[in-house]
């Protein structure tokens, strides 16, 4: 009688046609351990089977790209032998089920992806999306996720320097927790995962293996239903102290010329790490599972291979280096075991209690995983909302509504729970356009940001994809840094639905166009699909994490106004685009219309101009115009400094359109009187529209005869989040 019943296949998320391929590959019926291995290797999470076809279209190359997608993280060259290693990754499903541990282990996982390659992590970021604030679960999820990110990141001693947080009802049943790590390596000491050298030892180190997280990768590849919370036992538990030891031990060992290849055990644990290393090296592995350090008695081969216990690494050592490695692991009090050997067979042979318990071909599993060309439909284009059809609310009144709305309100409550200064190189802290982190012991710095505007992506995934990349480019440029490369974290609903697949396809196309035109290649990424609960999908959320380079950190610019009596200059055209704007949603209660288009050729020109002017010391403060439009951007510059501003609105455009339209490709600059002529001349020379819109000074924001004090606006901006989260105490 067959051991593999349709029920077993269903519980492993294996489709009938996939099982037919498994039988072909094996030439026999697999046993349960083997089936479990197939199920995690072919899960959407590990195989990218729905998105692969489209991900291949993204630009991934540039002169400064050392390593693009396909490894643990992407790597770029920042000169003088320094390299930046970075990636963003989701931990959405676990964080919804168990917010503290889900978010904590998300941080742990992305840190390992980066230090596995030989980099010391120097900064963390996170992009978070929660449900409607009025949803009964939202507050609890925010509290848990923020505590989890802080609990892990603070303990490992890597600063969490920024991020973004949105709230929308489409995330009520599927929050998004996307964590990004940026690390620093030397270009001549980078480590990859391809195994090499038949006979070389396969070594396990880090924490012991337990029964936690079994089938996490499969869970992350399924829609949620009303019973999803019963999956809590599959959420892993993080130990940031062990992670800290692992970072130090890895970096110490990497300095000894002992490692052939190394890979962390992330999703699908020992299975995916061993298969990926062997497959990339074209080799086989024989492992004795009895040697794996275990936390519990009586674990089966199935459990050992599928465990997602955290803080574990797998590496191939050079011959005779076992003692060097063991001594370093002893010093850091980490488990260390030789668990296998590389073979030339191209097969994975697993032994338990002296018997062969699995014997699988490696390449067909790792490389011949299914690749689907899923059917998709073009998302319908939405009509352009006319400015004259949008009610005009008095600017200061609308400004107050926007500053206090959940998406724009200050996120101080969040980032104060993250240590954003440890390591002593945080030059720009959270709250600006991008964080700026100095390269330790040098005059260089990297600017880091995460961006995505899901309401634009919902309205038009193609334009939304372009905009996410363009906004990241602007945020980096506004600090004075040169945008170098991006990592993407693509969060969508169920790809088996043609309309969702259409969102994925169009968002990737849009991102690809922007990355190509802005010379901003994608070097790493992660895909999270099936973000649906009871058939309702999230807003498409292709989160972009970006890194830029400042050659001279002393020239960086912040968003805070620096003094009174300076000119406020706007780069870019303002036509009052209202479709999919925050004004339309928060002030008028309407979620409709096409999002603002991005003109990529002008985007690049403007970015170059802004960076050049900052480099020449002609810009005192700089901020890009994004959510909420121009008046919000200027107010944010005032809030960051306490210095007010008086604006002169042009008469050619309706006031609410000028104040709150979300036309793309705009920057606000503070320029001193002596430099004004040079700045305007430079803008004209580069064919960039520039306009003096007002003057800094005083203690209030003045526009069209109305005003509000910076102090009052600050109180509104700061009030929402603590008040909202404060209700948590009384609610439980």
């Amino acid at each position: 009688m067959s051991q593999i019943t349709p029920d077993i296949l269903a519980s492993h998320g294996i489709k009938p046609d996939e099982y037919t391929r498994i039988l072909e590959i094996m030439g026999r019926e697999p046993n349960l351990t083997e089936l479990g291995i197939f199920s995690v290797m072919w899960s959407e999470h590990c195989s990218y089977k729905s998105s692969k076809k489209w991900l291949k279209t993204l630009p991934t190359k540039a002169d400064w790209v050392i390593c693009g997608p396909g490894e643990n993280a992407g790597i770029i060259d920042i000169g003088e032998g320094d390299a930046i290693v970075f990636k963003m990754e989701s931990h959405n499903h676990p964080s919804f089920i168990e917010p503290y541990q889900g978010a904590a282990t998300g941080v742990g996982g992305i840190l390992r992806d980066v230090f596995t390659m030989g980099a010391r992590p120097i900064a963390n970021m996170n992009a978070l999306r929660f449900g409607d604030p009025s949803h009964p679960k939202t507050r609890h999820l925010v509290a848990g996720v923020v505590a989890g990110i802080g609990g892990y990141g603070n303990c490992v001693g890597v600063p969490t320097v920024g991020g973004e947080t949105n709230f929308h009802k489409s995330y009520n049943g599927n929050i998004l927790v996307n964590a990004m790590t940026v690390g620093l390596a030397r270009t001549d000491n980078i480590f990859y995962s391809a195994a090499a050298g038949i006979g070389n030892p396969v070594v396990y180190f880090g924490s012991k293996t337990g029964r936690d997280g079994i089938h996490g990768a499969t869970m992350a590849s399924a829609e949620f239903d009303e019973n999803s919370e019963e999956k809590r036992p599959t959420v892993q538990v993080g130990d940031p102290f062990t992670e800290k030891l692992l970072i130090e031990a890895c970096l110490e060992l990497m300095a000894t010329d002992s490692i052939v290849a190394i890979q962390d055990m992330g999703a699908a644990g020992l299975t995916s790490s061993s298969f990926e290393m062997a497959s990339k090296g074209g080799l086989g592995i024989e492992m004795d599972l009895d040697s794996v350090p275990m936390r519990e008695e009586g674990m089966s081969a199935y459990e050992i291979m599928l465990s997602e216990s955290q803080e574990r690494m797998l590496m191939i050592l050079k011959p005779g280096k076992e003692d060097v490695a063991r001594a370093i692991m002893d010093k850091w009090e980490l488990d260390f075991a030789v668990i296998g050997v590389l073979t030339g067979t191209g097969r994975m042979v697993l032994k338990r209690h002296g018997e062969v318990v699995a014997d699988l071909p490696i390449d067909p599993l790792a490389q011949a995983s299914p690749e689907y060309d899923r059917p998709w439909v073009q998302p319908a284009k939405l009509p352009v909302v006319k400015l004259e059809d949008v009610p005009a609310v008095a600017p200061i009144e609308a400004l107050k509504t926007l500053l206090g709305c959940p998406d724009l309100a200050s996120k101080r409550w969040i980032y104060q729970q993250y240590d954003h200064m440890v390591m002593g190189d945080t030059v720009q802290r959270p709250g600006g356009d991008a964080a700026v982190v100095r390269i330790h012991g040098s005059d260089k710095a990297v600017a880091i940001t995460t961006d995505c505007t899901p309401r634009y992506c919902q309205a038009d995934p193609h334009e939304g994809g372009r905009q996410a990349v363009a906004e990241a480019y602007r945020n980096i440029s506004a600090t004075g840094a040169l945008p170098m490369a991006v990592t993407d974290n693509l969060n969508f609903g169920n790809p088996e639905k043609p309309e969702i697949m259409g969102q994925i396809v169009e968002a990737i196309k849009g991102m690809g166009e922007a990355c190509r035109d802005l010379d901003f290649p994608v070097v790493s990424g992660n895909v999270s699909l099936y973000n649906e609960t009871q058939g309702a999908a999230i807003q498409p959320t292709p989160a972009i994490g970006a890194v830029g380079l400042l050659k001279d950190v002393s020239k960086h610019t912040t968003i805070a106004f620096k003094g009174a009596g300076n000119s406020i200059v706007l780069f870019g055209e303002t036509k009052g685009w209202m479709g999919a704007s925050l004004y339309l949603r928060e002030v008028c209660g309407r979620e409709e219309g096409a999002p603002p288009p991005v003109a990529l050729h002008r985007e690049r020109r403007k970015g170059e101009l802004v960076r050049d002017l900052i480099d020449q010391g002609l810009v005192k403060a700089c901020h890009d115009v994004s959510d909420g439009g121009l008046l919000v951007a200027v107010t944010e510059m005032a809030l960051a400094s306490g210095i007010g501003a008086s604006l002169e609105a042009p008469s050619a455009i309706a006031l609410h359109g000028w104040c709150f339209g979300e036309d793309q490709g705009r920057y606000v600059l503070e320029v001193g009187a002596d430099d004004l002529a040079s700045v305007l001349e430079a803008a004209q020379g580069r064919d960039v529209g520039a306009r003096i819109i007002g003057t800094t000074g005083g203690h209030s924001i003045n526009v069209a005869g109305q005003s509000a004090t910076v102090e009052d606006l600050k109180a509104i901006h700061e009030a929402w989040m603590p008040a909202y989260m404060g209700a948590e105490m009384s609610g439980h």
Binding site: N154, P240, F241, G424
Partner: protein, 229 residues
Amino acid sequence: MKAAVIVFPGSNCDRDVAVALEASMRAKPLMVWHRDTELPKVDLVVVPGGFSYGDYLRCGAMAAHSPIMREVKARADAGMRVLGICNGFQILTESGLLPGVLMRNKDLKFICKDVHLRVENDRTDFCRYYRSGDVVRFPIAHAEGNWFVEPKAYREMEDNGQIAFRYATAEGKVDAESNPNGSLGNVAGIYNEKFNVLGLMPHPERLAEDLLGGSDGRLMFDSLVEALS
């Protein structure tokens, strides 16, 4: 001046304080691993911030029982200067080098932000470049900084001048609003009876350079160099 920084597994601020010390000393401090039992001959030992032993059990409790802390204690008893920052302060109270305990912050959350401190006693080797009553800005980054000691002991400490810093407003007013963690008397840092040991929750090493947003912390390291050279 010769200085050493103790490194425990989970010390995260060892490098940060070494950088700040080097800027003032114009020489690198020694880094001493927690398992070492011999402490080199130095004028100053810094117990840095971080999460020694993951802060499991209780912050600083496990580090306080490490072999190197026995040696630090013996030298401190003999008069060597010891500076404990954040987790280092917790380790010093757990070791009995400083009085009181550090409990969970009053709102139970980790807090990372700049705070203002009023200098309470400038007649020490740590604070000779400050003046009593000065307001300085240092960052805090902790979840357990809520210092407490029995009322009688507290009065004696106040009378002896053992309070080093109090949380205050930018104008130097010590009030409930400027207290970030609920500590008794807004206390941010304290001395032992002989004034050769200072423990404080805020991080002077994090604002010791203008590029990072301020340099009030630099004066503490400059004070030590001036006093001990």
